[in-house]
Amino acid sequence: MNEKRRISLFFFVLVMIFFYLPIVMLVTLSFNSSKSFAWSGFSLKWYAELFQKSPDLWQAFGRSLIIGVTSSLFSVLVATFGAIAIKWYNSKLKNYVKFLNYIPLILPDLIIGVSLLIFFNMQVGLYKGVELGMMTIFIAHTTFNIPFSLFIIMARLDEFDYSIVEASRDLGANEIQTLIKVVLPSMMPGIVSAFLMAMTLSLDDFVITSFVTGTNSNTLPVQIYSMIKFGVSPVINALSTILIIGTIVLSLSSRKLQKYMLS
């Protein structure tokens, strides 16, 4: 066993360095006073530039937040109902719906982007196509968020003690009362983690968004992409550092928050 532990420890350390070296690099460079990757002294000027001279980035960030919150809320709602359907109600639709939700989980983003772009742009008969913008981004994000939310909520429903639903019925509650007062509260842990997951996916998505974004509706990732592609400014290091710290704080606090809210 010892030898196996040593080998696996070696790979584990390697992976950790691999994971965190780039992140440490970015954070360090964000405090670099020169524009190049060579260190030339501590400075906060990139942060100043980010906060004072980058209105585009902040607008994009605002759009990302709006899309993230609305599409996550909506997809969690649809997924919660869907999870109840698949777990507790048999229907001929069951396998079809499961299949329809399994495929987007691993289908390359690009394909979802291509098919939605063609779908939105298509002009057939009376249907003249949809103008690309916030609405199409919302639809796209909801579409890729639903399957992830569904599977997280379904996994949590496995642990659900169904006898409490029967108990609530025996005590005279009708379907809606049972849903609102018994089922939804006990599903909350799954719903909250699905929401957080959907939020992360939505804030992170570049590929699908880049296909369905209009001329004036870039989200933060699309904006970052064009910064990387067309001339990198160290402002992006400052922004990345803030995003990374935000992520860590969010993931730590969401665990605490979940425990706190649900216990």
Binding site: K4, R5, S8, F11, F12, V15, F19, Y20, P22, I23, M25, L26, F37, A38, V78, A79, F81, G82, I84, A85, W88, Y89, N90, S91, L93, V97, N101, Y102, I103, I106, L107, P108, D109, L110, I111, V114, S115, I118, F119, N121, M122, I139, T142, L150, E175, D204, V207, F211, P221, I224, Y225, I228, K229, S240, L243, I244, T247, I248, L250, S251
Partner: protein, 286 residues
């Protein structure tokens, strides 16, 4: 677990089924059918689709006869296999170490944080490392007195390294949960029965975590062959993948039939992957 309750309460059944079925059919199922249909149409003179509709297999003919496309297909498969192999090689021992460690929750959190970090930020951080005046080149120049920087970016190796970085968490997590469920006393039993370490690893451990391995492969290989952003940003001309061809057909040439036809190939591969992992899941339940 199937609880068949309230088969009579059709109204509630529909209330639960309808939103999900409606949304995914309209915005996923239907658009997929459209691109299947469009892949059999003719490109319009100004892009899009030729009107009146003409049914033809031109797009597929282009795919299977154009040597450029075939070259990229082979390159894409080659790059994706390397990505999957390296990811698996790193992920199996890492997942093993974590599942046997006392601090597994903490390590898992550390694995998940890069996964939560913006995808483009992660790609960008590698540009800071591998770029011409990135840290590796600076070190090489200082230590070995290199005059000109090595071009570590804009080739297929950069695509492989960065993709492994991006996909590793997706592989570590399913492997971790499979190893977690594995009964390690089986290994002792194997050695009691005379198997050496290598035999025990190959014939007991690997089959025991098979479902995790298959899921990890599916979750790495399928997104890898569909890569677009990584090869676009760091692949240069050497690292072009099929995803980049789809994007250029879509946006520059506005050739919807060919873009659709390539997409169909991806859908077929993905459906096969889904079928495979659903099958593994069923086997596990037995």
């Amino acid at each position: 677990m199937d609880l068949k309750i309230n088969e009579k309460k059709d109204f509630f059944k529909w209330m639960y089924y309808l939103p999900l079925t409606f949304w995914m059919t309209l915005f996923f199922g239907f658009p997929t059918l459209i691109i299947i249909y469009f892949s059999f149409l003719k490109k319009g003179a100004y892009g899009g689709i030729a009107m009146p509709l003409k049914h033809t297999a031109t797009a597929y003919k282009t795919l299977f006869t154009s040597s450029d496309v075939i070259k990229v297909v082979i390159k894409t498969l080659n790059i994706s296999i390397w990505i999957t192999a390296i990811t698996l090689l790193l992920a199996v021992p890492t997942a093993y170490y974590i599942s046997r460690s006392k601090f597994k929750n903490f390590w898992l959190l550390l694995i998940v944080i890069p996964f939560w970090t913006n995808f483009l930020v992660r790609i960008f951080s590698f540009i800071a490392i591998l770029g011409n005046n990135g840290i590796i080149n600076q070190l090489l120049m200082k230590i070995f007195g290199l005059k000109t920087p090595l071009s570590l970016l804009y080739n297929k190796y950069a695509v492989i390294i960065i993709s492994v970085y991006v996909f590793l968490p997706y592989a570590i997590l399913p492997l971790y949960s499979a190893i977690e469920k594995f009964d390690f006393s089986l290994l002792d039993a194997a050695s009691d029965l005379g198997a050496n370490k290598f035999q025990a690893l190959l014939r007991v451990f690997i089959p025991g975590i098979k479902s995790g391995i298959v899921t990890a492969i599916v979750f790495t290989f399928v997104p890898a062959i569909g890569s677009y952003a990584v090869p676009d940003l760091v692949g240069g001309t050497d690292g072009i993948m099929l995803g980049n061809i789809i994007a250029s057909r879509m946006f520059q040439l506005r050739d919807w039939p060919v873009a659709s036809a390539i997409s169909i190939i991806f859908i077929v591969i993905t459906t096969f992957g889904v079928w495979l992992s659903m099958k593994m899941e069923k086997e596990e339940e037995k």
